[in-house]
Amino acid sequence: MFRRVLGKTLGFVGYTIQYGCIAHCAFEYIGEFVVCSGPSMEPTIINHDVVFSERMSRHLCKIQKGDIVIAKSPYDPNMNICKRVIGLEGDKVCTSSPSDLFKTHTYVPKGHVWLEGDNLRNSTDSRSYGPIPYALIRGRVCLKVTKYIDIYNIKKTANVSFCNIRKLVMIRSHVYGF
């Protein structure tokens, strides 16, 4: 009897370890849901939005200019930041604000990326702390979960909208003229 209980417990522990490892692999190599907070990516991502960030492009080094990425903050590794990639290594980026008379440029060093938030007026990004190493990037945001309230039934339903975040890059470059 004791041996049966022991056997069942070991089997249960084994299954837990196995599913825990599968969960780790899914979060690490496929993707995860992230809750964003802060105003630095408005109007693309507003405070308390839930987004899905996929990990494959980061591991295969396929992050491109214009992608929104989740990265570890360079000043605090336990905090994550959500910004848009403006320049990859070797690119020339503009570091002065649009109101400055003289425009200053820098080149993004090898192995680094330049990040900026969409809400330029209210965002601490590479314009204050410089380019960040590529390896601090955790994942690329590809989907946003939008919630809407049905007025008649007064219940919240969630639907995943495949909003093409890349299209917003074209709108932004038109607005800022570069």
Partner: protein, 195 residues
């Protein structure tokens, strides 16, 4: 979480499907292989990502501590990834980080200074550097033959990969690695600065 449920729901019908088949020898081997595969691969990947990693030290940047003879004999070290899960390191630890110049390469160096320390540099653009918050200063033991903070400056703690805890090959060099700062390479005492 949707992905977890997806994978879990795919796994159980697959294994029961395999069991329901007529158990000829070939199918039995296939079932054993598939169930073994689904167990071994995630467990191995999780252990390598979270607990321990084995790596070979190449190059002469940490001589004479690693690769003292150089040439074809390289040391193999055990990297402890569990102890750096909260990004806690001490001065004098040997750590592996993802190179800030090349995200696909890992480099192994010694931690000389933590955030807030003042470091006297060897060949960096400023002679004295205060390590910013969330960064640390790493150097190879073999100065001059080492690509370290003296070339690319303080490194963000988020790039930390693991802490080297033991040398496991060659067997003649089995030892536990203890944190120790090289002489004259520690952070500057602030009292010494003001005096």
């Amino acid at each position: 979480m949707v992905l977890i449920m997806l994978i879990a729901t795919l796994y159980s019908p697959l294994s029961s499907f395999l069991m329901a088949q007529q158990t000829t020898a070939g199918r039995r081997y296939l079932r054993a292989f598939v169930s073994g595969f689904f167990v071994a691969v995630p467990v191995t990947v999780t252990v390598l990502d979270r607990f321990a990693y084995v790596a070979r030290v190449e190059g002469a940047s940490m001589q004479p501590f690693f690769n003292p003879e150089g040439g074809l004999k390289s040391d193999i070290v055990l990297l402890n990834r569990w102890s750096v899960r909260n990004y806690q390191v001490q001065r004098g630890d040997i750590v592996s980080i993802v190179s800030p110049k090349n995200p696909q390469q890992k480099i192994i160096k010694r931690v000389i200074g933590l955030e807030g320390d003042f470091i006297r540099t060897l060949g960096y653009k400023n002679q004295y550097v205060r390590v910013p918050d969330g960064h640390f200063w790493i150097e190879g033991d073999h100065h001059g033959h080492s690509l370290d903070s003296n070339s690319f400056g303080p490194v963000s703690v988020g790039l930390l990969h693991g802490r080297a805890s033991h040398i496991i090959w060659p067997p003649s060099r089995w030892q536990q690695i203890k944190p120790s700062l090289p002489p004259n390479r520690g952070p500057l005492d602030t009292k010494e600065e003001e005096g």
